[in-house]
Symmetry: D2
Subunit: 154 residues, 4 copies
């Protein structure tokens, strides 16, 4: 479990999203599955921002990255038309896997909405077996995150 809250000051990248009416469920709050969309938008834009191309063709040919685990903590429900601030960072890189952390705040009140840990694994696109996270990815993340990203042996 995520014992303590993520620290948004460790996040060098954020973006803003507007809550849409069709994301709100019968309880009048954003449906719990939609936060995975928000966090994923954060990850995609993060990758574009640090210069790692996200392209369906390149993903399927050169390499294949899949999500193997998602943890989401819902702190306070987001409401229709609220503006959300989505913070995203890579927190660690292991041999064949790495972790994205995400955190959502409501823009005006700085109310904490939700937190996410998403573990990704690098696969060989032919055999589907885990392979070492590429040096290209490691160096891009290191250049952007600096001391905020941990490189773990295993």
């Amino acid at each position: 479990m995520i014992a303590v809250h993520m620290n948004p000051e460790k996040c060098s990248f954020s973006l803003q999203l507007r809550v849409r009416n069709f994301e709100v469920d019968w309880q009048g709050i954003v449906h719990n599955a939609n936060y995975l969309h928000y966090f994923e938008i954060g990850r995609i834009e993060y990758l574009k921002h640090v210069g790692i191309p996200v392209d369906m063709r390149s993903i399927q040919s050169d390499s294949k990255v899949v999500v193997v685990r998602n943890e989401i903590d819902y702190r306070s429900p987001a409401l229709f038309d609220e503006l959300l601030e989505v913070y995203t960072r890579v927190s660690f890189i292991r041999s064949t896997s790495f972790a994205f952390e995400g955190m959502i705040l409501e823009e005006r009140s700085r109310r904490l909405i939700a937190e996410n840990l998403a573990i990704h694994v690098w696969l060989d696109p032919v055999t589907d077996r885990p392979v070492r996270v590429t040096e290209a990815f490691r160096s891009r993340i290191r250049a952007f995150e600096g001391r905020n990203v941990e490189f773990l042996p295993e």
Copy 2:
């Protein structure tokens, strides 16, 4: 983290779902957020099955139950048109919270697709503060789950 796989034999309730084409993403596999829909269908049908009415009006008036945490482990991607078996159970009930566990197998191959732990909290519908899980809910779950559900003090 879920250290070991859920045991489907502890699940007295399951249902079947067909993977739909619009749930499959550009990688040709079910998009990671859609599994939350599958697990939630499992929970709703479980509640109906054990005799706990799920009605938007009753939820909003008498009581209010919200998801505060979701953990999903993606074991093997589900593919278009596969028939999935969704196992659901309540694994523990604490003072003001309880846990649903879910497990998805592909029907033919018994391939493990994904696992879920979803922590729910019971709220006072007026103050939004946690309140004790109702006796009605506890006794229904006890009657259905028998010794498979744990009642924890805190």
Copy 3:
């Protein structure tokens, strides 16, 4: 505009769907975009039923079929947990296009929920230009629909 209601008796194929909680919006009714999912499930299952394989690989290699127009008439909102009967048929086949009609009734009350006309075009997978609907498709539909499908010259 669809001047008159579709006739469900012309439909030799139907299936049942349960309305899920996450398909219901803040107004307490199924969100208007979700009916397109229901109708599409009807079309996919129709194709499987009449023996036309629906496979993402075959679609992308041998042929390519795209939706070019959707008309949806919302007659009565569907509600959480209702069981819907989705009727589907191919109503006409032109040179390079064909039409699917769909109709949704609530199972118990036979209340008319929504109607759909979806025009599809057959494309050359390389040039993306319209090509003649294949003989294989025409003969399968003719065999299943009999006199209920119209073959139009243009």
Copy 4:
């Protein structure tokens, strides 16, 4: 059917949307149901822009507006990460109904992506029977659209 293309110059309001990866289907293009989300975002932001509050509580108490018909023409598929320009306008107001038109262009190439006509009906929130579109709504739209909106007797 929409005989001719909408004229974007008649639209005094537009917004930009980024195509997200989870909106792209197995064919590598935006799934046909997601355009309804894009057009609806256009309508909601249009209403906010012209000063008509969109609030789930006000909708359910004072008045009730529902979509009764949607027409979508798919002109060219939108692709992952494209920036879309969504044009929205109210084209006519009848006694108890009104029409929103929408048009989506790809921002860079000005490629026409899709067009939409969405007919809405004003309902009495108690009886659910059509009632006259309010004067408040009519005057707001007239003030914003000027001669581009038609007021039709029936």
